[in-house]
């Protein structure tokens, strides 16, 4: 990333869900994500009918989303995505549920929630995002 003076950086505070540190390009959705039946685990592709990310993969992205919905197979699908090498690099979400907590744990990717600003407002798809879950810090470099 360029460190040009015009680069816009935003720092967010967050609560650790799963520890670790990772960075990548953001993939942002305002719609909750269904795991089982909503994601093709082998490729990390959203398949839910009518989902705004339908056809896009979260593989190697920093996934920014409101939270989880649907089947209790949520954790299993994200677990398989990890084994298949198709997991997101990190996860940032708003609404804590058992589905997403367990899913984040077995995905073993850094994950945070309870941010001091709404990540769906601050982060856009394509921004470069660094998640330091251990310190509870998210750094966003806006795509120009």
């Amino acid at each position: 990333m360029s460190d040009h003076a015009s680069t816009v950086r935003i720092i967010l505070k967050a609560r650790k869900v799963v520890g670790g540190c990772a960075e990548g390009e953001a993939l942002v959705t305002r719609q909750t994500i269904s795991g089982w039946g909503g994601v093709e685990a082998a490729t990390g592709t959203i398949i839910e009918t009518r989902h705004e990310l339908r056809g896009q993969s979260f593989k190697d992205k920093v996934l920014v989303f409101p939270g989880a919905k649907g089947s209790s197979g949520w954790s299993g699908v994200f677990h398989v995505a990890r084994l298949a090498g198709a997991a997101p690099r990190a996860m940032i979400f708003n609404e804590m549920t058992t589905k997403i907590a367990l899913g984040a744990v077995v995905t073993r990717a850094p994950a945070v929630t309870d941010l001091d600003r709404d990540p769906l407002e601050v982060i856009a798809t394509g921004d470069w995002v660094k998640v330091d879950a251990d310190r509870g810090v998210v750094e966003v470099v806006k795509r120009r």
């Binding site: 209790s72 298949a84 367990l102």
Partner: protein, 426 residues
Amino acid sequence: MQLSDTEQAMLEGQQGRARQKAMELLVRYAQALGAERFVDTTNVAGVPGSTNAFLQRYYQGAAYEVIFSRFDLDSDEVVEVPPVSVHSCHLQGGVDPENWQILGASPAAAESHRASEQATARRGIEILKTCTPYLAGNVPKRGEHCAWMESSAVVYCNSVLGARTNTEGRESTSAAMLTGKIPDWGFHRDEYRFGSHRILIEVPVQSVMDWGMLGYFVGEAVGERIPVLTGALAPPDLIRHKHFGAAAASSGGVEMYHIVGITPEAASLEQAFGPRRPLETLSYGAAERRRTYDTLNARGRDTHVDYVMLGCPHAALEQIEEACRLLDGRHISENCNLWIFTSRSVRALADRQGLTSIIRKAGGQLLTDTCSAIGQAVPPGTKVVALDSAKQAHYLPAMMGLEAWFGSTQDCIGAALTGRWSGQAP
């Protein structure tokens, strides 16, 4: 977080490696949630050690212990898996053990399911193999702390039975089977169980189809929050609760609902909301009903129906009787297949009642353990499916790339008999 002496001992390995790994996973999970302690659970429903094509390939056909350790317990090391410590059952699986050939499973897949099932049973886990454990003998009592998977069973457990469970996953339920522990968070706690949204019902909601559509609407409207239904509602029976909850848990993430004057924690509006005030009040009238119907039929174009699937969630005996009544001694269209899914327990009753042979004589099949979505199995060449379940209509077309019609059981059996869809919006 606070751990009791027993929990600490398990975490230190004093009850063996498997329970240690299970506690490690549960602690990671509880910390992710922000839970402060565990609660003792006495009723666990999950899919321990089950396999699918991906896991078979990934673990190279490995033994039960390997899959249970590495996947269920998310452990980097393989441990011996002891018998479970609390009442535990296995929910739906991928294959009907007697009719796997109809489902298009390979002999190898059938054999691997059989072996996994034996290993599960040897550990004292009941092989219910259904998404409706409450129709197969596992009916938790009010207030009982459960750890259940299967969103449609979870919402039934909380809302209809007044027992307490979050929507657990495979890994947390397998760990809970070994430890009898689950994070004390969410629906285990009184303050979490109050309503968030008020839904005013302004049209009659009577048939199973009506309740399915209402559930689908409510799930979309409230997401993962807790709806409180008010209005002129006749008390729904078990089947209507089953279809309502399954739909609400699919279009949204509803894990508990209240119907004022009907469900156990909603004797009054005040009790349903407790100290909370409704975040929003929504109406369900003719326009909302029509929109829901159209959404559920958005993937229907060709009225030639290849396949009718009933039994999502798994059919109750009365639903199988109804299908038999509607078949009325006739044979289904030669261009169409009819598969009805249920549990092995209900199937045993259906056999005894002579219903299985009625379905077979009509050209249909009564299958167990799985469904088209879970087993990813539809009759060869299927392009257009007809369904009486909003949940299945939500999942199956997207998973299998099918056109789909949603309607009543009568619409569906009609389609099976004629090969044509003629369902109408209510």
